[in-house]
């Protein structure tokens, strides 16, 4: 091709000028993309590794990794949701004003005046819900397929950081409109951050080390919620947390690659690969007859080196993996847009520091926590989430068993333990909630009980204790740490769902129990 370009130029400079002008589009394209059409395996590989955006992806992927029912595309969807959120967020930043004076009216402008403002805001809101759901389900998928093993331990920790960052982004996001939900969410969130005071007060240490006040001053830059708080949360939501998230996503994807691609079972039968395209060269074996004798460098099978097209049963990422990833992305984009047409993101009354909403409920993904916070601010808001995160982080370091990777629930035993544990968790949660709703807790029975006792002995900590005991029993009974981990994870996952449901449906004004929101007393 190079030859052709040089020889085709006519003699005179002006002729060459015109000829170059004619060849401009082709030359521009060739200078940008140096490989030909992605028809050969080589060109397909080049298409991936010579592109800065694609090169974090491997050139070849294992055919098993393309199984929809293995990953459900949840990781790609989480990243895709973040991409949608970044774009819509940038657009919203053009009109949103982070001051307590104007934040609310700029939100009204976005909804009623800015062209497409309502749709973009709705997509941003729905994108956030989708991202939280995808991240939770992605974590469950990785856990239940044992994909945190064999070199993937660290990436499981990176994933936990991403989970926390996702939730932090959601939290800092829904308080920017400065409506009633926002104001009281900041109030409650800030007070949760200050809740170590509950412990230091009980120990009489608050005058010496006031961790709570330090956290509060760091978060809202004052003792009272005002402009400083909004500016800080705006900075966290739009700059600090997204930057951190991008960095950790880069590490996360990079490590997936370095840890050998997506996890997969050791023995992959043909039934698991049904319907997944095959490398055209996979059947062929290239053999080279020995033309000279070698000194012994390794013991290999056969009499001569062999090279088959795809020894690992891999396939070109371009286009097979990218098409599927793009499809997953388009799916969530479609879901977000369709939902946005039918359901508007809420905006409540302007923030009113004198009157809280009644009930003041957080978005669904924090309602489970809000139920726990209703027992003890410190344990519910800081203690139990920290215990849960530490527990999750320890899983790959306590379960060192190399078997069972890449298989949902590992085996029949794993399936039945997951099933029994979810029933156990369901029954325990309902029993403890029923007990609390009907009979109250320690303070109703012994009015003078010290606060420190309630902080550490409440329905939330009781649940954690019961689940821990249950998982230890499972480890002992089945003589397997992995089975115990499945029991524990299932308990927590089911409890999260039940607490979220309970707080959504059955908590009403003054955080009291109601069978149905329609039974709430009128205001």
């Amino acid at each position: 091709m190079k030859q052709e370009r040089e020889t085709s130029a006519p003699g005179s400079a002006i002729g060459q000028y015109l000829s170059n002008l004619k060849q401009l589009p082709g030359n521009l394209r060739r200078s940008m993309i140096r490989h030909g059409a992605a028809e050969t395996s080589r060109a397909r590989a080049q298409a991936v590794f010579s592109n800065i955006f694609l090169h974090v992806h491997s050139v070849k992927v294992h055919r098993f990794s393309l199984r929809w029912s293995y990953t459900f595309g949840l990781g790609v969807m989480s990243a895709g949701a973040f991409f949608i959120l970044s774009l819509t967020g940038l657009l919203l930043m053009l009109y949103y004003e982070p001051s307590t004076q104007n934040a609310y009216s700029s939100m009204k402008d976005i909804i009623y005046i800015v062209p497409s403002g309502r749709l973009v805001r709705n997509v941003h809101r729905w994108g956030a819900h989708i991202m939280v759901i995808c991240v939770f389900l992605h974590m469950a998928r990785v856990f239940y397929t044992g994909s945190y093993k064999r070199g993937r331990e660290f990436n499981w920790l990176v994933g936990l950081v991403l989970l926390v960052l996702t939730l932090a982004l959601s939290f800092t996001g829904y308080l920017l409109p400065w409506d009633q939900l926002a104001y009281w969410a900041v109030t409650i969130g800030t007070n949760i951050a200050s809740s170590p005071q509950e412990v230091t007060d009980a120990l009489g240490l608050t005058d010496q080390i006031d961790v709570g006040a330090l956290m509060r001053h760091l978060l809202i830059g004052s003792d009272q919620i005002g402009n400083n708080a909004l500016v800080r949360f705006y900075f966290l939501h739009c700059i600090f947390l997204p930057m951190l998230l991008v960095m950790f996503v880069a590490v996360h994807i990079w490590r997936v690659r370095k840890d050998g691609g997506l996890s997969r079972p050791d023995d992959i039968g043909p039934e698991l690969l049904e319907g997944i395209p095959k490398d055209a060269m996979a059947e062929k074996t290239f053999a080279q007859k020995s033309v000279k004798t070698y000194s012994l460098v390794a013991v290999v099978k056969g009499s001569h080196p062999e090279n088959s097209g795809a020894p690992e049963d891999t396939i070109d990422a371009m286009p097979h993996a990218f098409v599927r990833e793009f499809a997953a992305f388009m799916l969530i984009l479609a879901v977000a847009v369709v939902l946005s047409y039918f359901s508007d993101a809420p905006l409540k009354e302007p923030a009113n520091p004198s009157v809280p909403e009644n009930p003041a409920k957080a978005p669904w993904y924090f309602l489970g926590l809000q139920e726990l916070v209703g027992y003890s601010a410190f344990m519910g808001g800081i203690g139990i989430p920290t215990i849960a995160l530490i527990g999750l982080g320890l899983i790959p370091y306590l379960d060192r068993d190399r078997n069972g990777i890449g298989i949902w629930f590992e085996n029949q035993q794993g399936r039945s333990v997951a099933f029994v544990s979810s029933i156990f968790s369901f029954v325990t949660c309902v029993a403890i909630l029923a007990l609390t709703v009907n009979f109250g807790w320690l303070r109703n029975w012994y009015p003078d009980v010290p606060q420190i006792v309630i902080t550490f002995v409440n329905p939330g900590t009781l649940l954690v204790g019961v689940f821990a005991a249950w998982s230890l029993l499972t480890i002992k009974k089945f003589d397997s740490i992995r089975i115990g981990a499945i029991a524990l994870f299932t308990c927590f996952f089911v409890a999260f769902i039940i607490l979220t449901y309970f707080a959504t449906v059955h908590r009403g004004p003054n955080w009291q129990f109601y069978w149905w929101p329609s039974l709430w007393p009128g205001h």
């Binding site: 109030t187 409650i188 009980a202 400083n228 003890s376 601010a377 955080w511």
Partner: protein, 156 residues
Amino acid sequence: MSAKLTNEEITRRGFLGWGFAVLAGMVSFAIFVLSTLRMPLPSLLPGKSGRFRIGRKADFPPGTARYFEEEQTYVFADTDGVFAISAVCTHLGCIVGKEERQFVCPCHGSYYDLSGKVKSGPAPKNLQWFKIVKTPGGRLVVERSKRVAPGTKYLV
């Protein structure tokens, strides 16, 4: 043991020369890091002062119960005197509402009696009592920044 990468002698002059530069660099780096870490913590906390006038003593005959919405404070008067109780729930900072014989927090259902003592719910502490003082002009002022023990009243 592996051989050393270099066999250069370290002279006293060289050590002191480089040592001084490295030490100065480390100290200035430490100062820089500490000062940048300090910056997000405000030294001056913006916001309202927390002092507000409530009127004269004669405005508070025994049996009075008034709510100062902006300051989130209840002011009561009985035969002993005038006293001020915070309306900010000690659990997570919502504003408690006053009922016939109790305060109720709408956020997580903490209940207090009318002296601010926790009756039930997750609140870790009793409602805060504030100091009431009289200005030279004879007006009563509630100081939200000065907390007093429950039962401390401005005597009539």
